[in-house]
């Protein structure tokens, strides 16, 4: 919960700071800006409410710890949701802040900006929903038949793979949505292509988190034979860390690449096709490092 609240606090703080600037620029739109800020923050903190739900379940449920794997799974559930909420909390703050700024520039567009902000913020919550799903699986799955070694390492790795992996995608999705709100405020006629490219960019920025989810599922559901050696355990834990940490950079990088595309389309919608193509190439290159991480994680799971 402590870790999960960091993202929401940064996101809300960023939104409030941008709202300050927006109100100082256009005091007449203060009401609309306050309203947008409130709605944006309500959506932005969904990820940390997920973390709260998991924290309360972990604190107040009586678990029948039939094996050490269950103990590790419960710990991994907390790690997964705590880390998984950071990116979405931060990311969802960006479009909310940009919507406030946009309203100060174009008060007549407040409705469209709020809708665009809400779509962007909602997509930003996807990585934290993945983390929530893994947390629930870790809490409610019966691990009594799993061998302690390497079962403990596998469940811890699963929690870290999606928890850390969700950070980059959450922030990346937010960067794209921020550019979309800015773009619409600058050039309202581009709302349709900008929203479409934003959704495309956000969808691709979520792929590192999806790879993290995939590695988590493999670590949870692939049965591993019992062993006395420490190497297989370390390999499985390492696989989770490798995928989780390896997904942070690509998630943010893809968001930045896509944000550039959205900005460019808002300036010149005549060349949507060329800009989208170059944006997708850039995102594919940024994605490659997440794929390398996944390959190494798979090698550690299946070969080591």
């Amino acid at each position: 919960m402590g870790v999960g609240a960091i993202g929401a606090a940064i996101g809300e703080g960023y939104t409030a700071a941008e709202a300050n600037l927006a109100i100082s620029r256009n005091t007449k739109s203060a009401g609309d800006i306050f309203k947008s800020m409130l709605i944006g923050q309500a959506i932005a903190e969904s990820a940390s409410i997920f973390a709260l739900v998991i924290a309360m379940i972990l604190l107040f449920t009586k678990f029948s710890a039939t094996s050490y794997v269950t103990v590790c799974a419960i710990f991994a559930a907390g790690l997964s949701m705590g880390f998984g909420a950071i990116g979405s909390g931060i990311g969802a703050g960006f479009p909310a802040g940009a919507a406030c700024t946009g309203m100060s520039r174009q008060p007549a567009l407040s409705g469209k900006l709020t809708t665009n902000m809400l779509i962007g913020s909602a997509v930003c919550q996807t990585p934290s929903i993945f983390a929530l799903v893994v947390s629930f699986i870790l809490i409610f799955t019966d691990f009594s038949g799993y061998p302690v070694s390497p079962g403990c390492a596998a469940v811890l790795g699963a929690g870290l793979a999606i928890g850390l992996g969700a950070i980059g995608s959450g922030i990346g999705g937010g960067v794209v949505a921020e550019s979309s709100c800015n773009g619409i405020a600058r050039q309202p006629l581009t709302i349709t292509p900008v929203t479409n490219v934003m959704l495309l960019g956000q969808a691709i920025a979520q792929t590192p988190a999806i790879l993290g989810l995939l590695i988590s599922f493999i670590l949870i559901y692939k049965g591993f034979p019992a062993t006395d050696s420490i190497a297989p355990s370390m390999a499985l834990l390492g696989a989770g860390i490798c995928m989780g940490v390896g997904a942070i950079g690509p998630g943010i990088g893809e968001g930045i690449a896509s944000s550039g595309g959205v900005k460019a389309i808002a300036r010149n919608q005549e060349v949507v096709g060329v800009i989208t193509r170059s944006m997708l190439v850039g995102m594919a290159v940024a994605e490659s490092t997440a794929i390398y991480s996944m390959v190494i994680a798979l090698v550690m799971i299946f070969v080591a």
């Binding site: 919960m1 609240a5 929401a8 606090a9 940064i10 809300e12 703080g13 409030a16 700071a17 709202a19 300050n20 109100i23 009401g31 609309d32 306050f34 309203k35 800020m37 409130l38 709605i39 923050q41 309500a42 959506i43 903190e45 969904s46 940390s48 409410i49 709260l52 739900v53 924290a55 309360m56 379940i57 107040f60 449920t61 409705g111 709020t114 809708t115 809400l118 909602a122």
Partner: protein, 128 residues
């Protein structure tokens, strides 16, 4: 602040209306713990949303660092309140945990649904 109050009134009244209607349906269908939990979660979700609006003026007009710490304090305070229905549903069998979780997100769901439907209706109006 009046605009914030109007926004809160609009979304909170819609959320509680949905919760009461769905809750009654569940209670009539014999799923009392789900119905009661849905209404309970929604009430606390509304309290959280109102408190969020009430703390907004404290966050405006401050430096970036100060805003961050005020946001952090506000989040922790509101989450302590949101934890109450979750603890109740875990400890008491009269409340279903998953229905409480759904209720806690009902205000956000109503906000999303409201904007989604107005987006769809404006797109349809443009078509005809």
């Amino acid at each position: 602040m009046e605009q914030i109050r109007q926004t809160q009134k609009k979304y909170c009244s819609a959320a509680i209306a949905v919760a009461i209607f769905a809750g009654l349906l569940f209670i009539l269908a014999g799923q009392k713990p789900i119905g009661k939990a849905l209404i309970l979660g929604t009430i606390f979700s509304i309290v959280n949303f109102i408190l969020m609006g009430e703390t907004l003026p404290f966050r405006i007009g401050q430096s970036k660092g100060k805003t961050f710490f005020i946001s952090m304090g506000s989040i922790y305070f509101r989450y302590i309140i949101l934890a109450i229905p979750l603890i109740m549903s875990i400890k008491l069998e009269q409340f279903n945990l998953f229905a409480v979780i759904f209720g806690i997100f009902l205000v956000q769901i109503v906000i999303m649904a409201d904007h989604f439907f107005s987006y769809i209706s404006s797109a349809r109006r443009k078509q005809f």
